[in-house]
């Protein structure tokens, strides 16, 4: 049995409730952290039946977290609660038979809506959202096992077998995961990036083509890649003007699936007639929505496949910084400006 638990814990907590009154991009940065968060000593959260308490080692910082903290994510904030949708650590308490069976296990976990989040020394989750980690999965990979890898797996699985897709912001962690997954599952990824540096690494990971949207020859290269690979799906983290152009250049039946909003300027539907005659569509993807829709066996299978990829080294999470919890208020904003790497909050 673990040692007796303390009464209090250190946590980053929300300073605001509800949603932001203004529409903003879903940004991965957090420059005005003092407006939204503070470091506090708060009581250890209480468990309900079926829940476990995790002593957190690493918490992940995803665009979904930074946008939630700023009040532009699809779920209302509660003042005084710790944010943080995912992390890893050790189960130290459980309510109920199944929850207690996890005591002492090293787990990756996702925090359900309204739960006490991962940016704290202790977090609460449902026992079935605590995933025991296989040997060989690094703690750092465990901390980022759920949001990005499951998003990548769920979205790539939605591309027809042997088909092609286009991914924007392809140099991101998620883009890299998708490139490897595409190659493994016999799908063709066309990545769109904003710099030349990630082009060759992404091709090495498995992308068939990688195009720099800032190149003068981008439109011609895009037309050629579309002609060659015939992508049917656009997986879009950016939702900007370029994505609108890409969708209108794609062929019959192309689906534009938006899962993030890194751009501030709204895209336009340049050719509404293509919705009619070319049966094109525009829709969104939200991991939380996917969770609610998917069956438990399908999720377990997907999560197992994700762990196996990390365990055998097919995937790794590139860590930019491990920011200690007590220094997060000062160091997190700077750490989050590094492109294309993952920032972790460390409780040790």
């Amino acid at each position: 049995m673990p040692a007796a638990l303390p009464e209090q814990m250190t946590a980053l907590v929300l300073r605001e409730s509800g949603f932001s009154p203004v529409s903003k991009a879903i940004t991965r940065e957090l420059s005005d952290i003092d407006t939204h968060l503070e470091l506090a000593e708060i009581p250890l959260p209480k468990l309900k039946p079926g829940q476990v308490l995790v002593r957190v080692k690493y918490a992940s910082v995803n665009p979904s977290d930074t946008s939630f903290v700023q009040g532009v994510y699809g779920q209302a904030r509660v003042k005084g609660m710790p944010p943080g949708f995912e992390g890893m650590g050790t189960v130290v308490a459980g309510e109920g038979l199944f929850a207690r069976a996890l005591l002492g296990r090293r787990v990756a976990f996702a925090v359900p809506p309204g739960g006490s989040g991962a940016w704290a020394e202790y977090a609460v989750t449902e026992a079935r959202a605590a995933i025991p980690l296989m040997k060989g999965v690094r703690d750092e990979d465990g901390a980022a096992l759920i949001v990005n890898p499951l998003t990548a797996a769920a979205m790539v699985a939605d591309v027809p077998a042997r088909g092609a897709f286009i991914a924007t912001a392809a140099a991101s962690q998620l883009g890299k995961l998708m490139a490897g997954l595409a190659k493994e599952t016999n799908r063709k990824m066309i990545g769109i990036v904003r710099r030349d540096a990630p082009i060759e690494p992404l091709k090495a990971l498995g992308a068939r083509a990688v195009l720099n949207e800032t190149d003068p020859g981008f439109d011609a290269a895009l037309a050629e890649a579309i002609e060659t690979h015939r992508p049917k799906v656009l997986l879009d983290a950016v939702a900007g003007e370029v994505a609108g152009r890409v969708h209108s250049a794609m062929g019959q039946g192309a689906r534009w699936v938006i899962y993030g909003r890194l751009a501030i300027d709204p895209p336009q539907i340049l050719a509404p007639e293509q919705l009619i005659f070319a049966q094109k569509q525009i829709e969104g993807f939200w991991l939380a929505g996917w969770f609610m829709k998917s069956s438990l066996p399908r999720m377990i299978m997907t999560i197992r496949a994700v762990q196996q990829r990390f365990a055998r080294g097919a995937w790794t999470t590139e860590i930019g910084a491990r920011v200690p919890l007590r220094e997060a208020m000062t160091r997190l904003p700077q750490a989050l400006t590094q492109p294309d790497v993952k920032t972790l909050i460390s409780m040790e």
């Binding site: 994510y73 909003r261 509404p272 007639e273 009619i276 005659f277 569509q281 829709e283 929505g289």
Partner: protein
């Protein structure tokens, strides 16, 4: 009946598609079609020749002659998708009968038109020519799209450009089935008329407080489907005021300003989506029995007077080049072309 060797027809001047962006306005016919004396087409196996009484001119016809419709143009062939007339030749037991039809071989903006004999729709006597000329495009689109509304389980739905003939059909279908139509229109007097006709609510997109009013009405009535003939910025405003899981179904593009997607989070967190509807795809993909049943129901509605077509202008074929643009620019126009004139 003797069939002449040549006929008057509005023939297309171009092949294929335009490469320019287009809307559905029409200021001049002459870049796209010309009135010519051409040979009367000869029916081959499986085809029928119809002597046209009336042809319809819909927004889809205008998009087609401009090269902005989903099928390629053929230079030298008459334009016009649908009409009514008498079968005068061909491989069909319907010789001598009055039919509604889709001009699959040559178009209906002519004295004679060629089509697949299988697609002829024999008419009840009670269906007037003015209804029969436009029996297919608007009524079938309304019925097929209303099937989507019903299947979705929504409590209400939005129709844009709701003062159009198609919009009025949708309003009536909504009233009959207890799924009220929220009519979006450009002018306040249309709003009043459509509410009278059975629309559950009306929104005037040119009003100063349109956006606030849209949020209030849509917040109360919770429509999850928008049937959109416009494809413009006001449509986007409506879409972003709709509730969770809303579907924006575009079936026309009356507006040339492209809509901007200002509330991206709604696609992700509210699971909203945008798609299109095209009658041609529906007819290809829907079970033939369902298509047949819908056609019978449409005829029944015209025959018993539940539906009728408000014709805004009837133009002689010989005057169509000159008169069509002005007639077409009238709000909610419903134009017929008459070869006899």
């Amino acid at each position: 009946m003797t069939i002449p060797a040549t006929m008057q027809a509005l023939v297309q001047l171009h092949d294929g598609y335009t490469t320019e962006p287009q809307d559905q306005r029409l200021s001049d016919m002459s870049p796209f079609v010309a009135l010519r004396e051409v040979p009367v087409p000869q029916p081959g196996p499986g085809q029928a020749l119809i002597k046209i009484a009336r042809a319809a001119a819909n927004p889809s016809d205008i998009a087609f002659i401009k090269g902005a419709y989903g099928q390629p143009r053929k230079a030298g062939i008459a334009a016009g998708f649908e009409g009514v007339g008498e079968v005068v030749a061909g491989d069909t037991p319907l010789l001598g009968k009055r039919v509604s039809f889709f001009g699959t071989g040559t178009g209906t903006w002519a004295e004679y038109s060629l089509t697949d004999a299988q697609t002829l729709i024999p008419l009840h006597d009670a269906v007037a020519d003015r209804d029969a000329a436009g029996l297919i495009v608007n009524p079938l689109t309304a019925m097929a799209m209303f099937d989507i509304v019903r299947a979705s389980g929504t409590e209400s739905f939005i129709a844009t450009a709701a003062g159009s003939q198609l919009g009025k059909f949708l309003i009536q279908l909504g009233a009959e089935h207890g799924i009220p139509c929220i009519a979006a229109v450009r002018r306040a007097e249309q709003a009043a008329a459509l509410t009278e006709m059975g629309a559950g609510a009306a929104l005037t997109i040119t009003d100063a407080d349109f956006e606030a009013e849209a949020k209030r009405v849509l917040g109360e009535m919770k429509p999850r489907i928008m049937l959109d003939a416009v494809g413009g910025p006001a449509s986007a405003t409506l879409f972003f005021a709709m509730p969770r899981k809303a579907r924006w179904i575009v079936y026309g593009r009356l507006e040339s300003t492209p809509p901007a997607l200002t509330e991206i989070g709604q696609f992700i967190f509210l699971q909203k989506q945008i798609e299109g509807f095209w009658l041609t795809s529906w007819m290809r993909e829907e079970a033939p029995e369902r298509v047949g049943a819908v056609i019978s129901e449409v005829q029944q509605r015209f025959a018993d007077g539940r539906w009728s077509t408000d014709v805004s202008a009837e133009i002689p074929l010989s005057r169509a080049m000159e008169e069509m643009p002005a007639a077409y620019s009238q709000p909610d126009s419903k134009i017929l072309i008459a070869p006899g004139g």
